[in-house]
Subunit: 236 residues, 2 copies
DNA sequence: AGCAACTTTGCGCAATGAGCAATTAACTCG
DNA sequence: CGAGTTAATTGCTCATTGCGCAAAGTTGCT
């Protein structure tokens, strides 16, 4: 009996890729349980880290609280850091869904901003905690960054679909990379702003921040013919 | 006797910040020795990783080859991954120097490209090896990404100086972040291209790749008054 | 030379990450 | 529903790791 089975109403199972849930549509009990323990571990790890610091608790303590064996932990995560970062698991799907559901008429840039906003919906609060801990814990930060890399991958595919360019076109990759970086940066500011005394942070501000961030991008780069590309074999 | 002292002619010592050498101007013997062991460890670690794989050797083996104690290793690096990534130590200074030495008349964007090219001078080959290993080793990749974060920090300062904007202006940070991301992406393509059978990769191609990458950026964003910034307290 | 500052080293230990085989729970199909 | 298949959990075990501590060895400065 890993986690309180009663609490499992219907979460979503999912196939894994590099430890991140990608397709949360299996509905077997087995999958739901797996997902539940994973979530429980990540969630509780974050909580412990918030109170006692990243190094302030051991995996053994964590699993004791959650109710699984020490060995099981290693079946899910390769490290404590990876476990904590797993609280962001759902976000990838949030962004992707938001992008897919955006009207075909919307511009790529605004679509990406929309996707980012979608994550902000339920993610920013956790992100604050995550960032607070990770700020001085290099291992955690590294894990988070590595996780983002996968997001970039997936967003690239989506951008490629929309723009009609190859998903490994350098501009596509970089645009996706930029979007993720922008999200990280904006969320950080947002989170810190929220924690301040006069915390008048609203969703509108978040949109403004995103706009400021995206103003760096050349608005019509992807809609236009490829730019100066002397050696074609490489720029693809 | 850590490393062959005879070989130490004049490398450069340096104060540390998060494990990355920042100011390589101390010339004491002590500093040079430290730097030498650090380098020796990183270098040899990379070599071992190339031949036996990341998990194919232990820290104990590494230090045995280099000639320092197991304990000393931990004085320098917190993990095997961190040690390997340390072969990139000098690159940060390369970029920074290149940026600083660029004529004041040059545009920010071209200056950044120049800085990236400076790294390519001696770095790309190692980067190939690094990437080859790190591709499937999440821990290594994570470390590298975390290292880049520091580069972004420093580049931001430089960009701020040139543009006259605050170094924590969101556009400055994102521009720096973009530059680093672009560098990573470009180097990856470059390195893989070089390894291919018909390896006709020249420095010119590298410049072209960088141009393609930077074509995403809005050319006059930083030289112009700040863009739409509704809530000023946040966009700063 | 002699003292202060810093590094290296050895020892030791708690914590980690993973392989293996046995157990248990979930799913499938007749 | 019940037997067989598949997959997850668990307990053992062990090599490896990360780091605190104090002793011994270097370097730097006067």
């Amino acid at each position: 009996m890993p986690v309180d089975t009663d609490v499992i109403e219907h979460s979503s199972g999912g196939a894994e890729l590099s430890g991140i849930v990608v397709t949360p549509d299996n509905v077997g009990l087995r999958e739901r349980k797996k997902d539940a323990t994973r979530r429980a571990l990540a969630e509780h790890a974050l909580e412990l880290a918030q109170h006692r610091g990243f190094a302030g608790f051991t995996i053994s303590e964590l699993v004791a609280d959650v109710g699984v064996s020490r060995r099981t932990f290693s079946n899910y995560f390769a490290s404590k850091a990876e476990c904590i970062v797993a609280v962001t698991d759902g976000w990838l799907d949030d962004v992707l869904d938001a992008i897919r559901q955006a009207p075909a008429s919307a511009s790529l840039l605004s679509v990406l901003q929309t996707g980012l906003l979608a994550v902000a919906q339920d993610g920013v609060e956790r992100w604050g905690a995550l960032h607070a801990i990770g700020a001085m814990e290099p291992e955690l930060q590294a894990c988070a960054l590595a996780g983002d890399e996968i997001v970039v991958e997936m967003v690239s595919d989506e951008v490629a679909r929309r723009s009609g360019l190859a998903s490994d076109d350098i501009r596509v990759r970089l645009l996706a990379g930029f979007a993720v970086t922008a999200g990280r940066e904006v969320f950080t500011r947002w989170a810190t702003a929220c924690q301040e005394p006069g915390h008048s942070a609203s969703n509108a501000d978040l949109g403004a921040l995103l706009s400021a961030a995206f103003s760096i991008i050349n608005p019509d780069v992807l809609t236009v013919a490829r730019p100066a590309a002397p050696t074609d074999s490489l720029t693809t």
